[in-house]
């Protein structure tokens, strides 16, 4: 399996480069942890039932609601911004250098995505542990399921981010594009507050965000329920998103001309 071998070569190189500057892994965690510490407590005072869930209210319920949202937010920001790195790699001529070797051109993307997935899982575990310190109580299975969702989100978004960045080849154009795509997705996914608090039209629009389904399923898992339509929808959307994005990304990397 030369593709797997090639992917691991690229992965090891990228991982080595990440570990040379591990500060970035931590810096990416600052934002969600700040939310957890400075925003999370506000949710503990909401009236019982507003956050959905089992309806017991209080700290544990607030964090069962909020931590899945923060995990998705971490995934959204962490994975969509990876494209910046490939623009500088392209500019350094590194992408071209790899493309002239017999290495699989898809592995140039896959190795990077693998690195991003592993980085994100490490960050997610830290975030969950901090959540537990603040009063999150959830089944271990639910946390593992949540990590599974994060992996799917990371695979999908990182692939699309690399592909888009490689097509655009300009940080100046990529940054505003990311903002205009990621911010509406964050707002429409019900990360901070449940979408059910919104008026009907807003809830309707929110249905277009795939992350909405993933968050709902993750939250349901955190309350200890692993069945039902919400879970099926969430898993299907997560897997579908990863598959479609991976396919889109691979088309760009496998092009004969770059």
């Amino acid at each position: 399996m030369s593709f797997i071998r090639d992917t691991l070569i690229v992965f090891r190189r990228q991982e080595r480069l990440s570990l040379r500057n591990p500060a970035w892994v931590i810096i990416a965690l600052v934002q969600p942890i700040l939310y957890l510490v400075l925003f999370g407590p506000l949710l503990t005072k909401l009236p019982v039932g507003d956050l959905g869930g089992s309806g017991t209210g209080g700290t544990a319920e607030a964090y069962r609601f909020f931590v899945p949202g923060l995990l998705i937010q971490l995934g959204l920001f962490g994975s969509t911004f990876v494209g910046f790195a490939i623009i500088s790699d392209w500019r350094a001529g590194v992408i071209e250098r790899f493309r002239v070797t017999p290495v699989s051109r898809l592995a140039i993307m896959a190795g990077r995505v693998l690195r991003d997935v592993i980085t994100l899982v490490v960050q997610a575990v830290i975030l969950v542990l901090v959540g537990v310190a603040f009063g999150l109580r959830a089944p271990v299975n639910a946390v593992l399921l949540g990590l599974g969702f994060i992996v799917m989100v990371a695979i999908g978004l990182a692939s699309v981010s690399y592909a888009t960045a490689l097509l655009i080849k300009s940080e100046d154009a990529f940054a505003p594009m990311l903002n205009s795509v990621v911010l509406p997705l964050v707002l429409l996914s019900g990360i901070m507050l449940p979408m059910t608090l919104g008026p009907g039209w807003l809830q309707g629009i929110a249905r277009i965000s795939p992350f909405r389904y993933i968050i709902d399923a993750m939250r349901q898992g955190f309350t200890g329920h692993f069945g039902g339509t919400i879970m099926v929808e969430g898993v299907a959307v997560a897997v579908g998103l990863a598959a479609v994005c991976l396919w889109l990304g691979s088309r760009v990397f496998l092009r004969e001309n770059a």
Binding site: I9, R13, A92, G93, V94, E96, V100, T101, V103
Partner: protein, 343 residues
Amino acid sequence: MPIIEAEGLARTFRTRKRTVEAVRGVNLTVEEGEIVGFLGPNGAGKTTTLRMLTTLLKPTAGHATVAGADLLRDPVGVRRRIGYVPQAIGQTMGGTDGMCLVIEELLDQGALYRIGKENAARRAAALTAQLDLGGLDRRLVKTLSGGQRRRLEIALGLVHEPPLVFLDEPTTGLDPQSRSNLWDHIRGLRTDLGTTVFLTTHYLEEADALCDRVFIIDNGVIVAEGTPDELKRQVSGDVVTLQVNGASDAARALLGSQPIVRDVTVSDGALRLTVFHGAEALPSLLRVLDGEGITLHAINLSRPTLDDVFLTLTGRSLRDDSPSAARPDSPELQPAGRGGGEE
């Protein structure tokens, strides 16, 4: 069997509004063990041709065999057998990551070519010695000097001992000393290892000093090929460059009507004549000008250079295309300083 054989290689780029024919039908043959230069101004199609021959760009027409593999049917086979050193200036750089250690770049490259760990370590040691990179193994690439980094990039193209290596503008942006040092290394590739070297350059001196054979490319077609000496002989004659005080049009007409003068062009404000037997022609040229009362500011006689070949073939000077050509007061300024080594 030639190591490169290309026929009718062409590449058209489509932008929203127009179609650009970057390369329009290039035929070329390169024999094993040659050092071949691709000479032309920026935008002539050098890099586009090179990118097609190295499988980075799919030709819109034509076909080629490179290092024994068919370019279109077996691109991976081509990649396995060639080395490629991208140009280190312009839109993209030479292919090294500043945050990698020198040794990591070499070993990674070995892994990409699947030459095995031990072999990669052996090659890394040999190449660092061969290209004067000894003792730099544990240095971050970004701390290397411009010349060291360029030599590392060339080392990366040679890790897998390819029989054919493509160097895109190998010395652009280097200071003169690093450049002539690199020339020695490139010559060494052929002498010591029998490697075929295909390089692009817009430095005439480089093509002249380094290449067994030169292809001159302009506007996407090869306009001439041959050894530097053959090409210069095509111009047949010596070049006299004159600067007259005023009345340059009159001087041009006058000199153009002399039977010993083959050709007159005006370049950078100077008259450039092609004459047979320049040394003997000078006195009579001076007499003719004197007779018409045109005074000379400066005169120079030289053997033809590749630039003269280029000028004769295309009606343009290679140097016209350098940024300094916009300033007629410094016609001798070469684009050597462009990019200034490290950026």
